[in-house]
Symmetry: none
Subunit: 205 residues, 4 copies
């Protein structure tokens, strides 16, 4: 299953070598952590050479970033459509939480890697790119919410609290599941988190 992650995620990437290294690196990072994984570990697992790794990714940071943005793209592709589904506010809000949980449950490796690598990527040379993508992603959400506030469906709250109210609970549980602190997959509780998000955001008349 893990073997196929990048065939699905990066179907355009013909170069099997590059994709293969990404796959192996992901496994190494998840097993051993970002800093503890050495280039040589990845080389052994992927059965290539350090030269090849550097040829394709420049350096370790570049490899991490390539992996991270691949995950981000995949995450985004699952999340976006939800906002555009014409439906009631409740359905959209709950749909967003469901989508988030669906992605994490479907791609636990990529999800864990994103939690693992976010701080590192944000600090490194690709930090600005990451920040830009985040801004772009949330601007859509904020536009949708602003509309909901105007119509009287959504509570009027400080803008910066919305993402936390919407995803905070689900994310917290996903972290716990991904790190093994709780055994039950978030998908089993998706409705709980979806409903709580709606309770948190809904304007009660």
């Amino acid at each position: 299953m893990l073997q196929d992650t990048f065939e699905r995620v990066l179907p355009g990437t013909r170069k099997s070598t590059k994709r293969h290294i990404l796959q192996c690196a992901l496994e190494c990072f998840l097993e051993t952590g970002l800093e503890s994984t050495t280039i040589d570990t990845i080389r052994q697992r992927s059965d290539t050479s350090v030269g090849t790794i550097y040829h394709h990714f420049g350096n370790k940071e570049g490899l991490v970033a390539a992996l991270f943005f691949t995950a981000l793209d995949d995450h985004k592709a699952v999340m976006w459509p939800e906002l555009e589904r014409a439906s009631t506010p409740k359905t959209v809000i709950e749909g967003l939480v469901h989508s988030y949980i669906h992605w994490v449950t479907g791609q636990p490796e990529l999800a864990r890697f994103m939690f693992l690598a976010r701080a590192s990527v944000a600090t490194g040379p690709f930090g600005e790119e990451l920040a830009a993508r985040n801004r772009e992603q949330y601007s859509f959400l904020h536009k949708w919410l602003a509309e909901g506030v105007k119509v009287g469906d959504i509570r009027s709250l400080p803008k910066e609290t919305y993402p936390s109210l919407l995803f905070g609970q689900a994310e917290n549980y996903c972290r716990a599941w991904l790190s093994g602190r709780v055994p039950t997959p978030p998908s089993d509780h998706a409705s709980v988190f979806a409903e709580s998000a709606w309770r948190s955001l809904a304007q009660t008349k």
Copy 2:
């Protein structure tokens, strides 16, 4: 202000040297990260010698753990009393969120350090100690919630989702604030998160 953190937190520690090293190490870890901070960096900042550092903390992991459990103790001392305050369920739930946010806002360095070091401590030789403390801490909470469920104040939900529902939103925002992604301190939005937590957990009759 930062200078006094450990005088308040570790009033018993007479040895100014040890406390001084802890303070300097905290600053280094926050500025440079756990792995990137070297013993020599801490030595320079604290103007001692590597020998002294090893004398007091055994090794780098021990230094991190000392710092982490100091923070955990402080955090716990602020959080616990809340559960014991006799009051309405709503007040207790909201009080817990307020306490959490109060601590993070009052000890941002320690809070950031806890987010920074948790994974490392959990994996290392002090992992079991950390897990035990967590179990102990949450068992009180779960007992209190079970009571609320029985009485009909609290929604009956999977036990493992409660912590996420209670703290997830506040924690998510605190992370964002501590990492600089949002500028407004969580204390400014404490009521929002407190109320949302209550909405998420309250049994609506």
Copy 3:
């Protein structure tokens, strides 16, 4: 101007690719040094491929040697004729110094490269070829000087000191100019060095 160096120096080289690589390699070596210049740097600047570079020059050492001997040929072509000009000893000696300075001033890139690469070439597999060329070049000079000594025009001195007495001062200044330690081009002081060389070598009756 630099663009044309090899069109003048290597007019026979039809293959513009080869000449282009030589030109780019020269620029790289001068800017970054012999060892610090990598094949990949040259590849980037010349917009070719490593394969092409290796196809034409065998290896890095071969590229350096090709450049060096090109410079040596050019240098020789300017210097030789001077010895054959029928004239007074003074004119010949001064002419040699003038020629040397004229070449360095006219081909500062090649001259700098010769100073840069001589040690490397002398140690490498082309060392013997270089030594042979040097012997050949100086044998003419020594023959001419021996004649001058016999006739009583030139001081009788240890044979091995003549090259140093003749070119040492000019060379020292040229090095200083090429490395930027002095701003005035050697051509401005050519007569000073020419006259001093003659003073050093002339038999005072």
Copy 4:
């Protein structure tokens, strides 16, 4: 003999380890060249550890610089006194050349190393320090020469040509000797170079 170089040159250096590493590094650099000598080569020869080498010198560049400035100090200590010897201009000029040759002949290892490392040091982070020392050193010489010009003993020439006229010939021969191109030590020809320098600089009435 080589063993004692640094006991004479750095008598104040008590730390035998540091001095020992300097000595071994000098030998390695002379045998193998600056770039081709690896830290590990020096470690093997000095029978210490890489950690110790880095502890004392920071990095390879620092080791080269330490060696270079040690040589420069020694060179300076031999050259300076000559200018202060009250004597005829001819004696001073010839004395300077003799001193130069005497130092090179007496410290061939240090002399070779200076030729080897100068370019590297000049380009690196210690370049400005080197330039400053050179300026200081030559300012004395230029003052002395200016006096000689005023009195009518020394030819009036462009200031920047004097060092080349004075030392160029000797230096050129020393380079040839140190690199093995000529077998006879410069000391055997010291008078030739001293006299030629005087001929080059003397004002002929």
